[in-house]
């Protein structure tokens, strides 16, 4: 709890001596990820424009990197790593399940509405 922190990230690949050191380590990691995101967003490499599962590979990379960042913010800055399994699951699984469900429903519906416009039944409605 409060005073003990798990001091390793990347499945124990990187071990830190103190909690303060771990915080700076995570900051460096998050900064690198953000720089990669911005660089990809500005240069938009042609090779990543191909579609994969209905979305550009570039966009998949952005979303995955975002989830990676969210993981480290929650686990190390919010100390989720040090909470009990029960609390962790209550918070994370509930949120993830509901959010995935919501996203699926709304994007499916949005895509359908687009099809209806696109097939010419309705020209424009805003």
């Amino acid at each position: 709890m409060a005073h003990e922190h798990k001091l390793e990230i990347f499945q124990g690949l990187l071990k830190f001596k103190s909690n303060t050191q771990k915080i700076w380590g995570v900051l460096i990691f998050l900064t690198i990820v953000t720089i990669i995101e911005v660089a990809l967003g500005i240069f938009k490499p042609e090779s990543l424009m191909a579609k994969f599962l209905g979305m550009k590979i570039l966009n998949w990379i952005f979303i995955i990197l975002t989830i990676v960042k969210a993981y480290y913010i929650t686990w190390d800055f919010m100390h989720m790593r040090d909470e009990t399994k029960g609390l962790r699951r209550m918070v994370v699984w509930t949120a993830i399940f509901l959010i995935l469900y919501l996203i699926f429903i709304l994007l499916q519906e949005g895509g359908y509405v687009f099809e209806v416009y696109d097939n010419g039944y309705i020209k424009r409605d805003f």
Partner: protein
Amino acid sequence: MSTAVAEGKTWGGGNQPLKASYGKMMMWFFIVSDALTFSGFLAAYGFSRFKFIDAWPIADEVFTHFPFLHGVDAPMYYVAFMTFVLIMSSVTMVLAVDAGHHMNKSKVTIYMFLTIIGGLIFVGSQAWEWNTFIKGDYGAVQTKGGNILQFVDKEGHRIAVRDFAMNAHGERVQHERKNGLWFVNEGALPTYTMDEVIHGLQANKDILVRTQIINEEGEKTVLSREESINQIMKNGRLYVEGANLHVNEYGSPLFADFFFFITGFHGFHVFSGVVINIIIFFNVVLGTYERRGSYEMVEKVGLYWHFVDLVWVFVFTFFYLV
């Protein structure tokens, strides 16, 4: 019998089955519900975007400004800077929490102060971002059907309407309450009338019209010269500049609506976070937690502050990158 006893011991109160205090646990549950609110907004944004997937504004053509660098095309840099500021203030916050565990009052004070400064820089940057977005820069023409037509030169570079619109004869006077029907008035007139835009377009042979439709290369479609004039003459209805809840020179008005609503709601969270941090900061300075023997309060507001950062990471991805 024995299970009942064990149950009473574990769940009957006065115990911490999740090894987290009441306050911290409730902060976690608040965060879950707030996360659902934000994902509701972002999913609604996704819905509208999927609905107009072939005509949605491209974010790095919209947010291209950087303070003090006028006329420099700097897509995304400023938002990246804002993201970094917020992550940095998250770091100072977690350092404050860590110092609190060691009961180090002076360090907690310094780190809380830095966190507040980071929050203020972020809110200020957001205000600047809003201001730039509302003012707009090139101007565009809205059609009868609500679509946006923008202007480009032969190479596809954007051209501002103010650079080619020409003074046409006749002046459209704003109708005020003091003349005519006293109870009727109208809003501010657009900077240019459609006549002025059409005259300017006819006089400048190099100007083409760009529509909202995204072509196969992922760029907005540029019309031919005749098609351009035809579109403006036939469908152009209103000159628009900047973005608000009704019109948006960058494309679909929904884009502006969601931008104001989601970043506004997030900015409101940052603002309340700063206010709460200031309250806690003064409590730290006054030694409230020193007397209480625990800096857990700092930890709880810390959770909220990190959550605000977490939300921004997602807003950044879905509004500016994807």
